[in-house]
Amino acid sequence: MHMIEAVIKPAALGSLKKRLTELGILGMTALECKGYGKQRGHTERYRGARMDVGFVPKVLLKIAVKSDDLDKTIEAITQAACTGSVGDGKLFVYELSRVVRVRTGEKDQDAL
């Protein structure tokens, strides 16, 4: 089992969710986050002062998948989230040693 952490543009969330549903991936957890990278943050102004804000609003998606589904999920995310402009985001994948579904106590593969 692997966890995919995808940092994406907020506007991509809708289409991404649709694509994953089509793929049969029916669970995910989303967090508000702010990213810093090649994409420059915006400029803000306040009472005559101009200032740079480094961080850009992003969405962090956590999607746990069976290892078999990993490749196709990654591909789906990459496609759905890609606009081709800087700041599209990154995927980070790591291995999970255990998964438990709280409600039923199901474990690992069964819990996904």
């Binding site: 907020p10 506007a11 969330l13 809708g14 969710k17 989303a30 967090l31 508000e32 915006h42 400029t43 803000e44 102004r45 306040y46 101009r50 609003p57 969405v59």
Partner: protein
């Protein structure tokens, strides 16, 4: 129909007006100096007359006529203040019903509308709208170049302007009350075009609309023009202010197109919830409060019977509108909808505005109740059938209920009758046509010349960053994780 002719020269007017405002040529400046000197003398005299005497002396010499005049004038001044606070009501309502990423933009627009509205009304609108009064100030006609600066440089030594011979209030009070009214009309457009219009394009349109179109249609009735002669009745402006603002809003929305993400490929519509129903509710309460001045002040005196009747009919209609919209939404959708109930209150207020002084109590309840129910279906009809993307429901509230209220004067109350209904319809159509044509020409010209919409990227990021480089709520975490999907009822 000499009024309509003037519709073709709006740009000329504006350039002139702005020119006068921004850079008075030396001749004008000199003239202004003279006028100011005169004004100074008059004022000095006035100050002496009032402040120079001891209060006791002054009081002793007071005649009955003064006290009535003072009270009448006081009420119209206070009514003007109440209409002013409606601008705060509109600002909070529109801010609340739109997304937090466009808040700075909406607040900026609404602040500027008040400021520009007052300034241009002094330069152009006031004299354009009340041509009859030009004679009083000794200016030949309203198309005369002098007219457009009539108020701002008028001969203040003409004491006729300040006493009972002019009206139940002073000339300044008249301007104060009317200027606050005028800006209201523009604010109606502001809400409908929110979240995607370019700031500069909007401000240009608003300036032209408030300084030319609104005063011309207004003059047809309140300036003693042909609709007044005909018998058209619009007490406080269901048509002159609200439906006129609503028509302009409708045309601008059509020229502008919907917000990104509002309509799906299959034509279905997505709801785009506003960021604070608390602000929206504050706005509606403030608007109701301000409407006491809007309608109550339109009596144009502090006449106890009429003003108190108007306050009661206004309140009954607002209450009936709120209850009706709340109940209809409850019945239609299974749960009561606050945004609809709030719109219902406004619908009732707009509806009673044309005949607030003509209705019996129960009639005001009926008019308000119908308006409240109407607004529910109008919002859905505009949104889903006509695909008009109006974030705050300005067209439903001001246009639809403005028309309803104007017609209601021919159906209920002291003036009810088929003839009156005809006059009302005439007025609605005439003002509607003029406003639509004006907005199409001016809005279309602006669209061609400088564009109306911000870029899609700017819409996504929000107009606050795009137009202002500012964030309204930097200390609060905004949610970007939302994925509303419309489920057709």
């Amino acid at each position: 129909m000499r009024w309509i002719a003037s519709g073709v020269t709006p740009i000329a007017f504006l350039v002139l007006a702005l020119g006068l405002m921004v850079m008075p040529d030396t001749a004008l400046a000199q003239e202004a100096q003279e006028v100011a000197a005169e004004a100074a003398e008059v004022l000095e005299a006035a100050v002496d007359a009032v402040a120079g005497e001891s209060p006791a002396e002054e009081a002793a010499s007071a005649t009955p006529i003064d006290a009535t005049f003072i009270a009448n004038n006081l009420w119209i001044m206070i009514a003007g203040m109440l209409v002013f606070i409606m601008h705060l009501g509109f600002a909070t309502l529109e801010t609340g019903l739109t997304r937090s990423k466009n808040t700075v933009n909406i607040l900026f627009k609404n602040t500027m509308i008040v400021c520009i509205g007052i300034l241009t009304y002094a330069l152009v609108g006031f004299n354009l709208m009340y041509p009859g009064f030009d004679e009083v100030v000794g200016i030949a006609g309203w198309l005369d170049v002098d007219a457009i600066k009539g108020f701002i440089t008028a001969d203040t030594s003409d004491t006729d302007l300040f006493g009972p011979d002019y009206a139940a209030y002073t000339w300044y009070t008249d301007f104060f009350f009317q200027a606050m009214f005028a800006a209201t009309c523009c604010t109606i457009v502001s809400g409908a075009v929110a979240e995607r219009i370019k700031l500069s394009s909007f401000l240009l349109f608003a300036t032209l609309f408030v300084s030319i179109s609104y005063p011309i249609t207004g003059a047809w009735k309140w300036g003693g023009g042909w609709l007044d002669t005909l018998g058209f009745y619009d007490f406080a402006g269901s048509t002159i202010v609200h439906s006129v603002g609503g028509w302009a809003a409708l045309v601008m929305v059509i020229l502008l197109g919907p917000r990104l993400g509002k309509y799906n490929a299959d034509g279905s519509s997505n709801a785009i919830p506003g960021h604070s129903l608390t602000l929206a509710a504050i706005g509606v309460f403030l608007l109701w409060f301000g409407w006491f001045g809007f309608n109550g002040g339109s009596v144009l005196s502090a006449d106890p019977i009429l003003v108190s009747l108007v306050l009661v009919t206004t309140s009954m209609a607002a209450a009936a509108g709120g209850v009706a919209a709340g109940l209809v939404s409850w019945a239609a959708a299974g749960k009561p909808d606050l945004s609809m109930a709030l719109n219902g209150v406004l619908a009732g207020l707009v509806g009673i505005t044309a005949g607030a002084d003509q209705m019996a109590i129960w009639e005001s309840v009926v008019i308000g109740g119908v308006a409240g129910a109407l607004v529910y279906f109008a919002v859905i009809f505009f949104d889903r059938v006509l695909k008009i993307d109006d974030p705050v429901g300005a067209t439903s509230v001001h246009l639809v209920c403005g028309i309803w209220g104007t017609l209601a004067v021919g159906i209920f109350g002291a003036k009810a009758g088929m003839a009156q209904l005809g006059y009302q319809a005439t007025g609605i159509v005439a003002m509607g046509v003029f406003t639509i044509v004006f907005t199409l020409i001016v809005g279309g010209a602006i669209k061609a010349a400088m564009g109306l919409r911000v870029s899609d990227e700017e819409q996504i990021e929000g107009l606050d960053l795009g137009e202002h480089d500012m964030a309204a709520y930097p200390d609060f975490q905004q949610t970007t994780i939302k994925s509303y999907q419309l489920r057709e009822a």
